[in-house]
Amino acid sequence: MKRSTLSSDEKAAARAELRHHQWLAFSLVLPLLCFLLFSFIAPISTLLLRSVYHPNVQQLIPHTIALLNEWDGHDLPNNNLMIQMAIELKKLAKQREAGELAQEINRNLAGSASQIKITARQLRQIDDAILMHKGQTYLQDAHPAWRDKAIWFAIKKAGQVFTDQYYLTALDLEKNAQGKIQSRQDINLYIALFLKTLKMAFIVTGLTLILGYPLAYYLASAPARTANVLFIFVLLPFWTSILVRTTAWIALLQTNGVINASLLWLDIIKQPLPLLYNQFSTIIVMTHILLPLMILPLYAVMKSIDPCYVRAAGSLGAKPVRIFLTVYFPMTLSGLSAGILLVFILFIGYFITPALVGGTDGQLISNIIAFHMQKSNNWALASALGALLLLFIIVLYWLFDRLTDPNKLKLV
């Protein structure tokens, strides 16, 4: 019979030792894990929660919402509900919060903001006891649209605490009165923006590829001394501040900027060209910003290709085009896919450059997220759009992870 080399006591001791080492390693990681949990993971989770959890309206008019949840929607809400609405609206008017409610409801029913504000203004002066009695009359006298079911549907919808409506809006969908999901007839806003972002991402990725591949090939095949010097011209722009590069491009592309002034001086054009604040400038500047990220992985891969393969193919009689297509190009595929995905991923999440040089035409999906965060205060919609963008990027990044080896990149 074969005897185990370790006694059971020794095995237990070894296991305890291993567990001790695991704890030791883990305790070194723990501070950073806790830090990121607070500073980064929790914020992202809050954003994801915010995209489905929207208690604002429910907090503003809790009793009305509670009654509306029982309302069947066949007839107008009963007097009891209307009275409750009048009382809560008056309370909001006193606290100067009626505008907030108006903004929320207006997202579900365009034009209802003024109705709510006008009514709130009129109800302000009226005594609670009177409202208790015939609030419905005051409500309907203030604005006839309170006799319409549409406003009540809009309030009921806005009062839902957990909702998928912001995801539907982000995908240009809506629920009809029967609760079936359908596409929105009136506008096709966000899908169009997602598609525009993708289209421009393809263009910029294509341009960086066309410009970057030959340059990377040249740098990889040039003598080491030349290549090292020329590589500085790739790394210097790469490390320069994004804002500096964007500033420089504004100086170049402005109506009275360097390019227009030179073209006018050379008599090539008679009028300055509109080069800035459109899709064109976004594409040019983004190509410039992302080009080094295409060159770096391509260069890393090309540098590791043994020139013997190309020479061998040549001495066996293959023509240059055939050598490139069947021997060289396939060996660069890993760097190529890394560069393409890197540029693509960074482009679709980019915010600052389109915001500065894009005008209205060159705005991307991240700019509309910023718009809903800062201007329209529709935070739930911004969160839903952000969550969709994040999902898309995680899928792309997963692809990136499978296709590349990050240790090979030369960044300095």
Binding site: H21, Q22, A25, F26, S27, L28, V29, P31, L32, L36, F38, F40, A42, P43, I44, T46, L47, R50, L211, L215, Y217, Y218, L230, L235, L236, P237, W239, T240, S241, I242, L243, V244, R245, T247, A248, W249, I250, A251, Q254, G257, A261, H288, L291, P320, I345, G349, F351, I352, L356, S366, I369, M373, W379, A382, S383, G386, L389, L390, N407, V412
Partner: protein, 278 residues
């Protein structure tokens, strides 16, 4: 590249010259913005284009007045102070936490290595606008929006992936036996770390710290969402300058920042050389 191998045909040579030409054009495209900004920042006129005088190299067409404006405007001086303070604090925090974690991650016994690594690298992957929105929601609950602490936390998160990558890379080439030998000779873990491990992985730690510092210094999206009027940084000031009144002071700032980039690149490549030398 005048000497081609003798077996090269004419078409070989022509295509190589064309390739070289194309490569230089692309390099020119890459360098063009920087080449334009530097001379324009000395323009005496408040324009973003070259004046007749500048083209004739007339010394009167050039001036240092935008640099003077930069260093004498209180708002820019506050911006410099804010940028340096936030970048230094977040680089220090990111380097300390990141180095500790990298030491743990490089241990063979570390459980859930891949998963934890993914968490540490995630701030680099998530688009900044999403990070900014999430932080705005979450930090508001703790009254951290519009405070230095909030910005430092935010920028530290962004710097951590760089520290993890560089320190893990230098720990990979570090021979663990050296540390074990020190321990066997009776050194405490802390002493063994500071006398043996730390000096050997120092270039990695320093370049990680530099990366984190630059990331914070150049960051604008999180600043736009989280900073109050008191925390205006240089990029924030440039951003509003570009949006509101375009003024060549921004070009002077750009030139100074570019100079800083050059210094940074030099120090990073020196660090790399040190790491390779022994």
């Amino acid at each position: 590249m005048s000497s081609f191998p003798s077996y090269y045909t004419i078409s070989h040579k022509i295509s190589f010259v064309l390739l070289k030409l194309f490569a230089f054009l692309v390099l020119f495209f890459l360098m063009l913005p920087l080449l334009i900004v530097i001379p324009l920042s000395f323009n005496i006129e408040p324009y973003f284009s070259f004046t007749q005088g500048m083209l004739k190299l007339d010394p009167n067409a050039y001036s240092l007045k935008w640099y003077h404006a930069f260093f004498s405007t209180p708002i820019w001086l506050t911006a410099i102070k804010n940028s340096l303070f936030i970048a230094t604090a977040s680089a220090l925090l990111a380097t300390t936490l990141g180095t500790l974690a990298a030491l743990g991650l490089s241990a063979n016994t570390m459980p859930f290595k891949r998963f934890i690594m993914a968490i540490f690298l995630s701030p680099m992957i998530v688009p900044l606008i999403i990070t900014a929105a999430g932080m705005f929601f979450f930090y508001a609950k703790f009254n951290l929006v519009g405070t230095y602490l909030g910005l430092i936390l935010a920028h530290t998160s962004l710097g951590i992936p760089f520290v993890i990558i560089t320190v893990c890379a230098s720990l990979k080439s570090f021979d663990q036996n050296l540390y074990n030998a020190a321990r066997l000779c009776g050194a405490s873990p802390i002493r063994a770390f500071f006398n043996i491990t730390f000096p050997l992985i120092k270039p990695g730690i320093l370049s990680g710290a530099l990366f984190a510092f630059v990331t914070s210094l150049d960051e604008i999206v999180l600043v736009l969402f989280l900073a109050g009027p008191e925390q205006r940084t240089i990029p924030r000031q440039m951003f509003s300058g570009l949006r509101e009144q375009i003024n060549p002071t921004i070009l002077a700032v750009s030139t100074l920042l570019t100079l800083m980039t050059i210094l940074l690149l030099i120090s990073l490549s020196l660090l790399r050389r040190n790491e390779k030398a022994p």
